[in-house]
Point group: D2
Chain length 387, copies 4
């Protein structure tokens, strides 16, 4: 079958833009993904040009509208902060472009709803859309889902999801855009909490029916930003400004499948760098995962004799594990960026094969609704807030 080559425009070239652009190139090599990044879009032409040169991207644009208007571009990959997602994605879908949009889908439920409507309209015309919850493409987590789907965990009783970081625990860390409510929507909640909300649903197929939540901003003012030096690093100025987002959020909830769920998202767990952890306990087994050891899944099989039962540390690098066959031999682990490589390969495959990719914008909206419920509950003394 002659597969059309997909031309991709990546909007944004910071942390997410870099990793997406590299991801498309790696997917072409390791999955034979018929796609290439032909355009990068950035407001600062010089910086965008430098990035494009390093990342072997032929064309640079300074306005995303030009990418949306270009008939030779098939895919718009949205890697900007959350406040611009709605406009870009809706315009791109209207122009018949397939859209991969970084999470969170939008900074508000209302925006996300409009994106879903646009995606559903475009879908009629065979236009595909996906939200970038990249952790679904961690082999260990995709394998955990397989275990759940195969009934190895049984009826789920507990979901325990944490996303622990510490990159702003120093009170002198400056006010990057992720600490600004206008740009980011919320703090740890929307940034990393969104991931664990999506994962809980991805793994269990269950949705939260209500939550009770608390949020906190431990450090109220910080130096204003002098310059961003990396994905999560920056230098500050002498002037201080107000932190307008949460530093941490904790919430408990129930799911439509009868499970109790606990969640925690924080940027103040000193010593935890990127500890995205999720554990499920069911009637037949348990799985546990920590992104700091992303090539491992712990699995406990409660149907085995007690005497030989134990959490087994599965190195999820076997050719029969999800995604692993495209990469290296057993024991030769993958890294963070592979979640993006796998993700864009999946997205392109869905486009090519005429399927709807997952997670859909509707999934992104569902996450957004949980984020909103968490914020609402936290604003009212942990009041029970239904979904």
């Amino acid at each position: 079958m002659a597969v059309q080559q997909l031309n991709v425009a990546v909007i944004g070239y910071a942390f997410m833009g870099r990793i997406h652009t590299a991801g498309w190139a790696q997917a072409a090599k390791f999955f034979g993904t018929p796609a290439r990044v032909t355009h990068v879009v950035g407001r600062n032409a010089e910086n965008a040009r430098a990035f494009a040169d390093d990342f072997d991207v032929p064309n640079v644009l300074t306005d995303w509208r030009d990418a949306v208007a270009d008939p030779d571009i098939h895919v718009i990959d949205v890697c900007t902060p959350g406040d611009s997602h709605v406009d870009i994605a809706i315009a791109a879908l209207a122009a018949g472009k397939h859209v991969l949009c970084e999470k969170p889908l939008a900074n508000s439920v209302e925006g996300a709803e409009r994106m879903v409507a646009a995606a559903e309209a475009a879908r009629e015309a065979g236009v595909r859309s996906m939200v970038g919850f990249s952790y679904r493409r961690v082999p260990a987590l995709a394998y955990a889902k397989r275990l759940v789907d195969e009934g190895r965990i049984g009826e789920i009783r507990h979901i325990r999801a944490l996303y622990l970081q510490d990159w702003i625990a120093d009170p002198e860390f400056p006010l990057v855009w992720r600490l600004d409510k206008d740009a980011a929507g919320s703090g740890a909640l929307g940034d990393v909490g969104a991931h664990i909300i999506d994962l809980a649903t991805f793994l269990t197929g269950q949705r939260l029916t209500g939550v009770s939540a608390l949020t906190e901003t431990f450090v109220k003012t910080r130096p204003k930003l002098a310059s961003q030096t990396g994905g999560l690093t920056a230098t500050g100025s002498e002037e201080r400004g107000e932190v307008t987002v949460d530093d941490a959020a904790v919430w408990i909830g129930r799911t439509d499948g009868g499970a109790l769920a606990t969640f925690e998202a924080t940027r103040f767990a000193v010593g935890r760098k990127n500890a995205m952890r999720i554990e499920l306990n069911g009637s037949k087994g348990s799985v546990a995962f920590d992104f700091e050891r992303m090539n491992e899944l712990e699995f406990f099989d409660f149907t085995e004799p007690a005497v030989e039962g134990g959490f087994r540390r599965i190195l999820v690098t076997d050719p029969d594990h999800p995604y692993a066959g495209a990469w290296w031999p057993p024991g030769h682990g993958l890294g963070y960026e592979h979640t993006f490589n796998n993700e864009v390969a999946d997205f392109a495959a869905a486009i090519t094969e005429g399927r709807d990719p997952e997670p859909s914008f509707a999934e992104g909206l569902a996450v957004q609704r949980v984020l909103q419920a968490v914020e609402e509950s936290a604003a009212h003394e942990a009041r029970w807030t239904t979904l």
Copy 2:
């Protein structure tokens, strides 16, 4: 100094009675504790006699009132289920006996309040009382407290406390007394949740100011009890009865020190046998503990250069670690029962030295109030419940 030998009567000889009785004997050997168990009290004379023979206890009584009335007994060690604690402890204190009472202090706040009043009255006469939150005597946790007290953790932002077990995850496990509200007061909440409530306060010196909670009974009916075969093992009959306590409880809260706290107590985390875990994240460091690896404390020092920072696994077996000097060389770990050995040694030392031991009955009452608040919140859709 000639120290008076303390004669101890242990009330109850099941799981807790056994471990306490052995603990007094070990404390005499390894701490030189001037005490011995002279009496064991059990309603079934024959069984109590057999236990006394095995455990080298000279005297057996079938009514705790006789122990309270015996002028040669100095200490009453209450190891019965929670529903009898109030009567025994108050009578013993009134009779001038020092009282060590297993946790939870009582099955109700009201009962616990009466016990505190009795303890405070007796205290005037030099009579000592303590509640048996034995995990305070885990060397790793006592050392964690030392680190907090020395300022190594700094201002505490997160308390994350879990007590995960799975001993009743099998729906055919029978209705032991711990699943009966009348005898046990509550389920996972009072049994193991009480421990993590106490520990959070012990380690941080902070108290919860409010909670929002959910509880759940996953398995509603179970076989009635045929016989109890061990501390946490039993066989069932063919008839079924209702489970009247919670299987699991989750709650979030705030402390008077400004920390966010999450708690989970469950008997349905399959694969987790006795995973009492607590982690504190502060402005200067973090500590993390899991009872399944009770000889280890993980400590992260945020004041170190980032490049060489990492959670260090401290084997808490050095002579300079709490309690460890009384036992074996570094690396030669302790077991579960040592928490009791250390506990009774501390209690006896306080008596002998005329000090008030910790945790006091008032601490036990404080825990009871949190348990009540959790239950109340859970009964009202996770309503915020202040303390």
Copy 3:
């Protein structure tokens, strides 16, 4: 059945004497072992008396010959340094006493051979003897042996045994008896290397057929001993003396079952406190153990589908695990001293039931022969030395 109460005399009251004496008392409680320590023997009457008082031992002797001669003593438990084992054990056996002798059996093969001859002669008269390789009584290791015996590991290819400590890594640590060839026989080799030699045979049922070895004394002189302050702690004087034993030994070998084996015993692995580690790799599975986490056994089942295979961490605390049923519920771990509690219970049970206990003196001799072969090989540039 009326079982005769065994009266035990413990010879020595330092590290090993303490733990044995406490062990007999605990075994009586938890295994119903019909034995009690009636005598402790120590050359310094005052210190021995103090120990006896603390450990509830009625009688004190200052010469082991008096214990051997006492008709009311049934068991001699030899807890002295290795240089006295031969005389005490042979005399005791000749007097019809059952003998438990700490490892290493003797400081020389010749001494051990005489002990074996004495044991075999006494055996005719129903007198039992055992050498104290206490690690055989770690539940996790006894369970590992069960897995081997059940064929779960298959044909064994690799034995990897290490005993890593660091208690003399500081060059100012003084010359305790364990660093004196006359008293101790050898250094790390005989002290901790003996354990891993015995364990390798215990677990696999295979014996080394030849070894190639290196030994090293990293620190040649040390302060002479001022006072011993604990099992592995001491203070030094200003004068220095020569270290006459090895600090470390490494050796490789082959077994009569076709396995390759590697061994390492050292007191200079800084950070490793009591890391006795053993791993077996077979055609069907693997087991791995580290004493620093003594309640855990890692087991890999190679017969499972690769996709779900992984080392499982078994908490060896289930009632169906060896020894565990006598102690606490699942997840409530044991400590170092339980290996001794379990050991004396096994020894007494063998006596009572008229069986030969394991490991026999002949096993102790076999270990001694390996130690000698290692020393001989090391003395000749790692020359291959057959057994």
Copy 4:
């Protein structure tokens, strides 16, 4: 500065060829490495073409001599089995091409010596050469070396290096080229043992002065190869052939710095997929590493107070860690292939800056000499063999 773009020809496109080719492209993106793979060389033109298409390589050659003769190619990257290294590398160097040669440098010491001579001759003309011990570019190991160099480990006493795999533990796994002495030189020894020999020297700066070794081929015959399906996977035919290489090798040795060293290389450690482990114990500290957790380094600082000492798990993902700054934020780990990305970036940087890259061919020869000594010792009953 205008840096010349380096044109690279990769010889071979199997496991190593794939990872190198992808590595050059990633290095260009993340390190700004001025190099691109312009040619791939493979004997099967069709397969090579398919690879080149997937990996975005413009040109395909079927004879490496054509690459060596092409004046537009600056770098020859040798990714073929060991038996062809000598010819390719020497010809390439003679033609003035910089050469990166996969390990082991050659299948014999004699071949390696000729390569070193060629490299040294070429060096006069500014031609660079390097052998591909890629594990030197694991950030955790490069950081371990920094700790050693800074004196944090002190005088090194123990080197403990293992490379454990299990990919041929199934006796029906077929006779791939890695099990053929002619193609591979040796088995586990040369394949993975070479890595740990190099690493031990890299980390400590010390060299083995003698070894005593055993090797074993547990499975003597295997199905002949039907087809190679991946880097370490293949299918077999019905005919069987002889295995001509070792399955496992163990050896002990001494270094010129006074350390005792133990080594083990095996493909029969079932459950261990790619467990390249190395631990150093010194007078001031220890480091420990396991490639199955490649983003972590364990470090023990013996100069700290004993009470707070412990192996710390450093996530080697901080911007100040080696290589890490080029990649992702802290806690966002790297994978196996990054060692190659880092390696080619280093190699190109050395070329561009006119420096000699490390490890040189002379280092590769030094490894080869150890391999030869190990084989010689093993062939003579573990005879001590000096280097």
